[in-house]
C-alpha cells in the first residue's frame, strides 16, 4: 500500500515540470524513485521571485485538518478544528518554547493581587469583516467559554469568576490565585461577538466564514487543499510577508515524507528517520530541521506495588538505565536525555536548583545500581534478583502497540534491568487499552509524559499532585503512578498561591528535591517536537540558534518570516 502513495507523491512533483519531454520525465521518475534529487525540484519560474508588492507568493505548510476528508470547521474551541492559528488571535502570545510574553490584542496587563487581572486592549484592530474589535468581544468570548465547558480546552472556566469590560480595559476576577495560569488565560482565541451571538449552540458551530482579527482569511477550502490569503488590512500587516498559505492534505504512509524530501513543504512537522541523509542532504543549503524538547518522557512505576513502594529500590534504579543509549538508538539521536529534576532543560534552566549536581542528569552505572540494590536488601540468586518476599522480581512494561520508537526504548530498559537480574516483559496493548490500564493503575511500569507547559505549576502538579490521582481501580486524571505526599502537595500549593518570585523559586527547588530524593518517577528523555523547514522561499523560521518561538506558534512565526535573500 505505501508504494501507491509514494507514486502519487512523485507524480505531484513531476506535475510541476510538465514542459519536460516524456523521456526526461521518466528519467526523473526513476531518479526520484531511487531517492535522488529530482531535476525539477527548483520549480518553475512562477515559484521564484516575489509578487509586485514584495511578498512571497505562497508557502506550503502541509496538513490542515483531521481525517482523510478534511471538513470546514473553523471553530477555534473545537478539538477537531482546521488550522485556525493564522485567523484568530489572543490577548497575549506566550511562546511555547521559552515562554516569553508578547503583547498581541492587548498591549499590556496588570495584576491586582493574585486574583484580579486587567488587560489594556490594542486600538485600531478590526475584524476581517471590517467591524471594529472591542472589549465586548473579549468579554463575550470568555463568558461563552465559561458557560460551555465543552469549549473549554484550556480549563479557564473553573477559575474565572467574572469578566467585565470598559473602554479598552478588560478586568478578570479569579476564584483562586491565577498568576501562574497567565499563559493559559491570555492564549484564548478571541472571536467576534457579532457573529457568534447569533449561534444557538457554539459547541456545534463550524464557523464557516472564520471572521477573525488575524493576518489571514480563508480563500478556498476543499477536501484536498486549503488556501489562506493575507489580509492587507491586518493591524500589523507590514510584518506579514507571505501572500498565501497553502495547506495540502496529510497523506498516509510515506508520501508526506517524500514530498518533504522533494521540497514541496516550506515547513512541516513529522517524524523522519535518518533526517540528515533523507532530508538535509537533498539540499543542504535550504533544508533544515529543529527538534525542540517537548515533554519529559519518564518511567512510571506503580508506587502502590512492591518493590516500587520502596524508596531505596526506586533510587537505585535511577542509575540502572542507560538513557544515552535510548536517546541515540531508540530516538535516533534526535533527543536529549532527561534530568531527574523533572524540568525540561535547557528551556526551563531558570528554574533549576543550582545545588543539584550535573543539572540532575544521572549517568548509567550498572555496578553502582547493583551495589545500591544489595545494600537495600535485594539479594541475588542464580542471576535473579529476589524481592523482599524471596520471589524473583518480574515486571511488565506496557507500551501502546505501534509506538515503535517507544517499544525500542522499552527493549533497552528491559535489557538494562535484566542485567540487574530483574525480569521484564514488554507488553504492547492497544492504545485504548493502555490508556484505560494507566488510568486505573493496572500496570507495573510504563512510559508517561508530562511537562512542557509554560505553567511550571502544571508541569509538576500533573504527575505529582495527590488531587490528580485516584485509588487503584479509580480513574486517575494525570498522576498515574499514584504519588501521594503531603510535602509535595504543600510545595505545589505554595507555588500556586502566586507569591513573589522568591517563594516560587523556593517551591520549584523543593519539588526538584522531591524528584531527586523521593524518585516519584524516573525521567528518561525529552520527547521531540518535530519540525522541518526550508529557507528557499522564506527565512526567519525558529531554530536552535534563534529559538524565539515553538514551531507551532503560528502568529509569532508568520510575523517573522521574510523573503529569502532579503
Amino acid at each position: 500500500m505505501p508504494n501507491v502513495l509514494v507514486d502519487e507523491g512523485l507524480d505531484k512533483a513531476i506535475g510541476r515540470c510538465r514542459v519536460a519531454r516524456r523521456w526526461r520525465i521518466l528519467a526523473v521518475t526513476i531518479a526520484a524513485a531511487v531517492g535522488l534529487t529530482t531535476a525539477c525540484s527548483a520549480g518553475s519560474a512562477e515559484d521564484e521571485g516575489l509578487t509586485k508588492d514584495g511578498l512571497i507568493p505562497f508557502i506550503n505548510l502541509g496538513g490542515y485538518a483531521p481525517g482523510t476528508s478534511p471538513q470546514r470547521n473553523f471553530n477555534p474551541f473545537s478539538a477537531n478544528k482546521a488550522v485556525v492559528g493564522y485567523t484568530f488571535e489572543t490577548l497575549y502570545q506566550v511562546d511555547q518554547n521559552g515562554c516569553t510574553e508578547h503583547p498581541w490584542l492587548a498591549t499590556n496587563y496588570k495584576w491586582d493581587g493574585t486574583q484580579k487581572l486587567t488587560f489594556t486592549l490594542r486600538d485600531g484592530v478590526k475584524w476581517s469583516d471590517g467591524k471594529p474589535f472591542t472589549a465586548d468581544d473579549v468579554v463575550f468570548t470568555y463568558e461563552m467559554i465559561k458557560k460551555n465547558a465543552a469549549l473549554d480546552l484550556r480549563g479557564i472556566g473553573p477559575v474565572l469568576e467574572s469578566i467585565t469590560g470598559e473602554g479598552n480595559q478588560v478586568t478578570m476576577q479569579f476564584s483562586s490565585p491565577a498568576v501562574l495560569l497567565f499563559s493559559k488565560i491570555a492564549m484564548l482565541e478571541i472571536v467576534p461577538k457579532h457573529v457568534w451571538e447569533k449561534e444557538k449552540d457554539p459547541v456545534t458551530f463550524t464557523n464557516p466564514d472564520a471572521v477573525g482579527t488575524g493576518p489571514y482569511t480563508v480563500k478556498t477550502f476543499n477536501n484536498r487543499q486549503m488556501v489562506l490569503e493575507r489580509d492587507p488590512d491586518y493591524w500589523q500587516a507590514d510584518k506579514v510577508k507571505v501572500k498565501e498559505l497553502r495547506f495540502t492534505k496529510t497523506q498516509q504512509g510515506q508520501t508526506d515524507q517524500l514530498r518533504l524530501e522533494r521540497g514541496e513543504y516550506d515547513a512541516n512537522a513529522m517524524f523522519v528517520p535518518d533526517i540528515d541523509k533523507v532530508f538535509v542532504a537533498k539540499d543542504p543549503q535550504h533544508n533544515k530541521y529543529w527538534f525542540a524538547p517537548g515533554g519529559v518522557i519518564s518511567l512510571y512505576l506503580n508506587l502502590t506495588k512492591a518493590p516500587f513502594d520502596d524508596l531505596a529500590f526506586r533510587k537505585a534504579l535511577t542509575s540502572g538505565i542507560n538513557r544515552q543509549e535510548i536517546a541515540d538508538k531508540a530516538q535516533l539521536g534526535y533527543v536529549e536525555t532527561a534530568s531527574q529534576t523533572g524540568l525540561i532543560l535547557p528551556n526551563q534552566k531558570d528554574w533549576l536548583d543550582p545545588g543539584i549536581d550535573d543539572e540532575g542528569k544521572i549517568g548509567y552505572d550498572a555496578d553502582k545500581t547493583k551495589q545500591a540494590l544489595s545494600d537495600a536488601g535485594y539479594e541475588e540468586q542464580d542471576g535473579k534478583l529476589l524481592g523482599k518476599d524471596g520471589k524473583p522480581l518480574q515486571f511488565e512494561l506496557k507500551i501502546p502497540a505501534g509506538w515503535s520508537d517507544w517499544i525500542q526504548a522499552g527493549q533497552i530498559v528491559k535489557g538494562d534491568l535484566e542485567d540487574l537480574g530483574i525480569q521484564v516483559d514488554v507488553a504492547s496493548p492497544q492504545e485504548t487499552v493502555y490508556n484505560a490500564d494507566r488510568e486505573s493503575g493496572r500496570f507495573d511500569m510504563l512510559f508517561g509524559v508530562y511537562g512542557g507547559d509554560c505553567n511550571i505549576h502544571k508541569d509538576y502538579a500533573d504527575p505529582l499532585a495527590s488531587g490528580q490521582s485516584a485509588p487503584i481501580g479509580g480513574k486517575a486524571i494525570s498522576n498515574f503512578t499514584r504519588w501521594q505526599d503531603g510535602k509535595t502537595d504543600d510545595l505545589l500549593n505554595q507555588l500556586a498561591s502566586g507569591g513573589d518570585e522568591k517563594s516560587q523559586q523556593e517551591a520549584v527547588h523543593g519539588l526538584q528535591q522531591v524528584m531527586m530524593e523521593q524518585v516519584p518517577n524516573i525521567p528518561l528523555w525529552y520527547g521531540a517536537k518535530w519540525f522541518q523547514y526550508r529557507t528557499a522561499r522564506a527565512t526567519g523560521w525558529p531554530n536552535e540558534k534563534d529559538p524565539y518561538a515553538a514551531s507551532s506558534d503560528a502568529l509569532l512565526v508568520i510575523t517573522k518570516l521574510r523573503p529569502a535573500g532579503s
Binding site: S78, A79, T432
Partner: protein, 332 residues
Amino acid sequence: MRYFLRRIAFFVITLWAAVTLNFIIPRLQPGDPAESIVAQLTGQGAAVDPDQIRAVRLMLGLKDESILAQYWEYLGQLVHGNFGVSYTYFPYSVTHMIAEALPWTLVLVGVTQILGFLIGTTLGAFAAWRRNSRFDSVVTLGSQFIGALPFFWIALLLLYFLAFVTQWFPDAGGYSTSIEPAWSWAFVGDAIYHGILPALAILITAPASWIIGMRNNMVQSLGEDYTRLARAKGLRVRRIALMYGARVAILPNITGLALALGAILGGTVLVETIFDYPGLGRLMIEAVTSRDYPLMQALFLFITTGVLLANLLADFLLGVLDPRVRKEATVR
C-alpha cells in the same frame, strides 16, 4: 405469496440481529474516545492536557448510562435516521460524512459493477455458445488469468503507467485540489476525469468472474435435454441461445450481482485507498483505524443492510424468473 412473506420475515430477523451486533461489538472495546482524540492531537512526545480530555468528553456528549438505556436510545436514533456525530469530524454528523462519500462510491462502483456484469455475462454467453472456438479459449483463459492477478497489483500498474509515467490521468483524489465542489460542468468533468483510472481498474477485473460463471452455467444448460429438444424442433439459433441457454444460465449470476451491488455500500476499499478516492471504502478504513465508533457503526450497518436488501431482492427476482423456486415453497 407465502414464499415472499417468508423471505421478508427472514430479512427482518436478520436485520435485527445485525443491528444489535452492530451495537454490541464497538462497546466491547475498552477505552475512551476523548482520550484518543486528544492524544492524536498532542502527539506521542508531548504531555496530554487533562483539561482538554475533559472538554472533549463533554463535546462528544459521552455519558455513563446503563447499556440497556443506551440500546434503546440507539434503536430510537436509528428509526429517526440519526447516527450521531463522528468523533473524527465533530461537529459534522455521521450522516453528513456518509452523504458526502456515498455519491462517489455509488457512481464509481455502481456504474463499473453493472457494466462489468453486462460485459462479463455477454462474453461468457458467447464463449459458451461458441464452445472451443478461438474466441472461447481467448476469453476463458484471459479471464482466468486476470482473475488470478491480485487486484491491487493491477491498480498499481495502471497508476504507474497511466498517471505517473504518461501523466494522462490524475493519480489521486476525486477532483482537483484547486476546484470547489459544486454542480457545475467544470466540476463534473473534473470528477469524471479523476474517476477514469479507478473505473478502469475495476472494469479490467470485474468481468472475469462473470465470464467464467456464465460460460460454465451456459455450457451446462446447452447440454440439457430441453435445449436438444429445442434444436430438434428446429428453433432459430438466437432463440435457443437466449431463451433456452442464457435464461437458465443467468440465474446464479443474478444472485451474484445482487450481492455485489449490496456490497457497493461498503465501497471498494482497495480501489479507493489506492487512488485516494473520497468514497465509502476510504471512509470505512479511516473509521476503523481512528476508532471513530459512530461512523464505523453506521457504515457497517449500511453494508449489512445493503447486502440483506440485495439478498431479498435477488430472492424476489429469482421467484419471478424461476417458477421452480416458487413451486418448491408452496409444495412444502
